[in-house]
Symmetry: C3
Subunit: 339 residues, 3 copies
């Protein structure tokens, strides 16, 4: 594709030669002839001197002799360029003969059901949704339109997915929550988990992530939220719209996570808490109590990020501090003796 044509399709200003051919996208270090790359931050601007790319997406302020697409949000424009240059045509509509689709299931127009997928009784699947091989939808599941469920995804009975939901391989939606009551002998008796999981529109769920069904009502993942791989979401948890949970995050039951929250990798959140809108927790943070909106927290147990950074710096010097403390005590004792 000519760079000029791509500029038009992406709605970007063009700088330099619009006749240059771009065939694929590539990172600035690996890019060669025919490649379009991008510079999202000034940090990488120096690499523009050495890249083999044929063209580049840049922010308005960045000068380069390379033919360029100018964008206020180079990363976003790049994402759209990938879709244009690497179109990913969906699998053809239809049900593979090896799939097991219950006769009471309703499949919308253009739905693709891959090999050995299992669609249970009473399931409804919206138009153009793709079920890759070996997806399992238990009875009564509802999946919206234009969803993409990768192979090995399991959705348990009666759970509900909105439109344009993407689920990566092996994720489990709606397994039983972890609920047990102790009996008189100290043994645990299972609390039947009769609630469901609701996944709103435009959510993406990572590979091998588990979102448990509620004991009674619902676990809910809000519109546009993005969950990475191997995340654990306990029963009756609510995740607000546009929140981001990185890999291996765990959230215990009944906690309410607000909107636009960011939990970095391996963060753990205890149960029955409220995490306010816009909260950010850095990697491995352990959150034992509710957190007010807008706070940036770190550490275990979580404290203000700035305090944690300072305290962590002192932590490494604790042996020295103890040594100084002993010195002081000795000097004071000496003073006392002399009196």
């Amino acid at each position: 594709m000519k760079l000029g044509e791509l500029a038009q399709r992406l709605g970007c200003a063009l700088r330099g030669d619009g006749d240059v051919d771009v065939r694929r996208v590539a990172g600035i270090a690996e890019a060669g002839a025919g490649d379009l790359t991008f510079v999202a931050s000034a940090r990488y601007a120096a690499q523009l001197q050495t890249t083999g790319a044929s063209a580049v997406i840049v922010a308005p302020g960045l000068e380069t002799p390379l033919p360029s697409l100018v964008s206020d949000n180079p990363y976003l424009t790049f994402a759209r360029a990938v879709s244009v240059l690497h179109p990913d045509p969906p699998p053809a509509p239809g049900v593979h003969p090896s799939a097991t689709v219950d006769p009471t299931a309703e499949l919308g127009e253009g739905v693709h059901v891959g090999p050995q997928a299992v669609v249970g009784p009473g399931v409804r699947v919206g138009a153009r949704t793709v079920l890759h091989p070996q997806v399992v939808l238990y009875r009564g599941v509802r999946v919206g339109a234009d969803c993409l469920l990768h192979s090995g995804v399991q959705v348990r009975e009666r759970c509900v997915l909105g439109d344009r939901v993407i689920v990566q391989n092996g994720a489990v939606i709606g397994a039983d929550g972890f609920g047990f009551a102790k009996d008189q002998d100290g043994r645990y008796r299972k609390i039947p988990q009769v609630g469901i999981v609701v996944i709103e529109d435009d959510v993406e769920i990572g590979a091998l992530t588990a979102i448990d069904r509620a004991a009674l009502h619902e676990t809910r993942i809000g519109r546009g939220a993005k969950l990475d791989n191997l995340v654990q979401v306990g029963h009756s948890v609510t995740i607000g719209a546009d929140s981001v949970l990185a890999g291996q995050v765990g959230i215990a039951g009944s906690t309410k996570v607000g909107e636009r929250v960011t939990l970095a990798g391996q963060v753990g959140v205890a149960g029955h808490l409220t995490i306010g809108d816009g909260v950010i927790a850095t990697a491995q943070t352990g959150i034992p109590g509710s957190v007010d909106a807008g706070r940036l927290v770190s550490g275990y147990p979580a404290i203000d990020n700035r305090d944690w950074l300072k305290a962590s710096a002192v932590f490494a010097k604790l042996p020295e501090l103890r040594h100084r403390l002993r010195d002081i005590e000795r000097r004071l004792d000496e003073l006392a003796r002399r009196r």
Copy 2:
């Protein structure tokens, strides 16, 4: 169902109108007409004033104008009420035509084998056990009676499950343990893992949890233990009866966990340790050494919970402490100079 009839079935005393109809269970906040709710702790008693529930399960000491079932253990009674009001009839016995069952496998009376399940040579499955779609049982596996294995569960060769075991979706039982020996070139050579996993009666295993087979003998999960999602149990580990492992807990090889142990979310336990009966570790605790029975531990590395709480409180003030230390040194120097 009339509340009076439910009282009889659950063996509870009835207070108030036994003719009220209860059709389902619900949380105290969401409950409406026809719903039965419960109050397990006095904390929620205030909500009894505003709930829309038609009836409630309460402890003997709790007064309420609502028609009530009185129970010494409201949570447990509630669990049983869920089973009565939301019966979950098991799938019909029989083998789905798309399943692959080896002719040498033995299926007990009333077993259900769902679509595309795979039952290998020499497998034995006890009466009334349910294998949901795409369960895979490798050769020689034994599963007891009245078990429930959800879709996507994999059980590797020769592993043994007792009676009434529940396994949530995608769990892997009996994958190879992580055992390698370094050769003269510093490369790792695989130690074949020829042991098995034994899961005793009444255990529940969460979604996407991995329990590795032993190198030589067995990995064992004791009677009634409950493992949440995304838990990692290394080879040759033993978990005692009635222990509880919350989400994302990891236990390294050959560690022995006692009975009635509670490991909260994301706890990590090193290998070759002994964790005594009744130990509790709070969330994210890292356990590098053996822990005596009955202790409550926290932190990384794990220490007594009370000590950890106090030390953590001081941790946040470390910068201030260092500042005070400097002040003291200055004052001492000043004193010394004056002499």
Copy 3:
């Protein structure tokens, strides 16, 4: 098998009676008549007095009355003895009739495709590779020779596996990386992930481990690396040869891990870092910045292991330290008042 014959096959010196029969391997505590055991470290030498084993593999310096195989590396010799005494014959070549193999896929000589495996268009599988039940290979995947993919493994489009790669159950190779760009409304837009994953020769991947495909180029797991269960490897990460990642380790996107690196259980590594060759991180370490080759690090945030051990020891005494600090201040105030 006679011990003398086994000695020959393993290339070990024999001590004592070569006519003793050994039929299987066992741990030193469980071993009985007919069992071969081993002592890899002097720590277990005392158990040689009480073991019921018929023979033992020992290092040259270790004296025992038991018939013995003498080896400089008893653990490695033991691993080889397991293979000899417990041969694990591969499943018979051929494609199970319930598998779905695209007509454009190429299967090498002796390949086994188990029940309900799915092999997509254009896939190539090398000689003697075993695909257990329900393995899914998306279109364009290449798998080398002598690989072993256990049930439930998912390999996404165009990913490449070398020779002798072992993948445990339920692992996901090549799911989309976690890449999103914020648009003007603060919503996340997906960055299409058009790269792949490359797994080099002799790698082993644990159960339920997720290795994400690169956004643009490749995620690469180096020759001989061993990944345990429930590990998360982000997009565009590189793992060097012979590195070992224990259970539940997480590595964020674009980080380069060197060769012979050891990351113990639950370690987290932030994105865009360089971890030098031979680095060791102890369990639960959180690594926020690059680490030079050869270092041993611990803690969160990671510091030198020795410093961390010392600081952690002081941490538990922080309340006492604060108390002493207050005492000192009081004494100084007292001194000041007296002047």
